[in-house]
């Protein structure tokens, strides 16, 4: 059983310079209270691995604006001009990875694979510096795992074992990232007693989750 903790206590677990996976797609399904707590704490030099950096004022964009981030590994930063400006100004390193490759590299880290072979990126800038391997006459890039110290994820519903359910397009990277962080902190919308979530509805088994964020004090 896990006791739910306050967002500020969860944020305090993440040190300066940590590598953090953050769930969400353009802010949908991101752990918003946890992000706010990290901004409030003023954590520095984070390497953020996420699909995108959202749009100004939302989700991961707040970490970028607050100067918490030194490196971004993402598939898309197009809706966040600030990330692009900081990249051009040399304040943030940005590593762009195709979305399907990004999620498979995170999964590989989570499930103990040494890498995967993907056709995506063959013949493009993405193949620079990567081994090319031919299988059955077709070329693939060898893409290696992306490990992280933390996975900061969002979920629809949790129980106190840490089992998680997700809603609609707020799944996105969250269930995969839950496999790949050394420490996994989940921010659920709801927390229910153990036994309420049916086994077939659990998408992240609780044994993967280290910390649960408590609900909002007002119950929302």
């Amino acid at each position: 059983m896990k006791h739910a903790i306050k967002a500020e206590d969860a944020a305090a677990l993440v040190p300066d310079g940590a590598r953090v996976l953050i769930g969400g797609f353009m802010g949908v399904g991101s752990p918003h209270r946890l992000i706010d707590a990290i901004v409030a704490r003023g954590t520095k030099n984070l390497t953020v691995i996420a699909n995108d950096t959202a749009m100004p004022g939302k989700g991961i964009a707040k970490l970028v604006s607050a100067g918490c981030v030194s490196t971004v590994i993402a598939s898309h930063i197009g809706l966040n001009p600030e990330t692009q400006q900081k990249m051009i100004a040399g304040e943030i390193d940005v590593d762009l990875v195709p979305q399907g490759t990004l999620v498979e590299r995170i999964r590989a880290a989570g499930v103990g694979l040494g890498g995967i072979l993907t056709p995506t990126g063959i013949g493009t800038l993405v193949e620079e510096g990567k081994p090319k391997i031919t299988v059955d006459g077709r070329d693939y890039l060898l893409e290696t795992p992306i490990h992280a110290d933390f996975a900061l994820i969002s979920a629809y519903r949790a129980d106190y074992v840490g089992n998680l359910e997700y809603a609609l397009t707020a799944h996105n990277f969250n269930p995969i990232m839950a496999l790949a962080g050394d420490t996994v902190i989940a921010e659920p919308h709801h927390i229910v007693p153990v036994g309420v979530i049916p086994p077939d509805s659990v998408k992240t088994p609780g044994i993967l989750v280290d910390h649960l964020l408590e609900r909002q004090p007002d119950g929302s």
Partner: protein
């Protein structure tokens, strides 16, 4: 008719019943508006839903249900929520029948460039590289020229999205099919002659007999 409407209407004709289709954000997303009512397809939003529905009525938005552009959507009956690994597994694994994407450039080889302009605009490739590498059919939907300059070139000078020949290029001026021999002009737009298309195109075009007009 506006260029975008011509393109969207023409692309809509390519969509086959009972298929899975991914529409890119921007111009490609307009295609859904022109699908005949009796053609049932499932639209995928690569951020995690199969069975994307129309925009919800005001006040009925669900913050956990959006498309890949972040806009609110609904889900049709029979929809499925999927995570990003499954979503891109479907794309890369050849389960997506068609993707419709915007383009910055396409060339005689049928190669597409649509994800960055070095030194100027680096949004990132998002899902585009996986979509072009993995979808069964790739349709590029774009206006024919950019400020008068051709976008259909002998060879792309912008970074490629994939080294894969796209299936079809649809602009307001032409429908062009990349083939092993080069770019085959299949149709001209409602307001364009064959000569108009040739002069707005840098790439060589293969012209076989009479080229019909689009029927919209």
């Amino acid at each position: 008719m506006e260029a975008k409407e011509i393109i969207a209407r023409r692309v809509a004709q390519e969509i086959q019943p009972d298929t899975l289709v991914n529409l890119g954000i921007g111009l490609p997303s307009l295609v859904a508006n022109y699908l005949p009512n009796d053609v049932h397809v499932f639209f995928q939003a690569e951020n995690g839903v199969i069975g994307l529905g129309a925009r919800p009525p005001e006040g009925m938005e669900d913050p956990d249900l959006t498309d890949a552009g972040g806009g609110f959507i609904t889900a049709v009956p029979g929809a499925a929520s999927i995570d990003s690994a499954v979503s891109f597994g479907l794309i890369r694994g050849g389960h997506l029948d068609m993707t419709v994407l915007g383009g910055l450039q396409v060339d005689e080889r049928g190669y597409l460039a649509n994800w960055m302009i070095p030194g100027k605009m680096v949004p990132g490739m998002g899902g585009a590289m996986d979509l072009v590498a993995g979808a069964k059919q790739v349709i590029v939907a774009m206006v024919h020229t950019a400020k008068g300059a051709p976008k259909i070139l002998k060879e792309c000078n912008l970074p490629l999205t994939a080294k894969r020949r796209v299936s079809l290029i649809v602009t307001e001026m032409a429908v062009i099919q990349p083939t092993e021999e080069g770019l085959l002009l299949k149709e001209t737009g409602p307001d364009a002659s064959v000569d108009d298309v040739i002069s707005a195109t840098e790439a060589n075009l293969i012209i076989r007999g009479d080229v019909p007009r689009m029927r919209l």
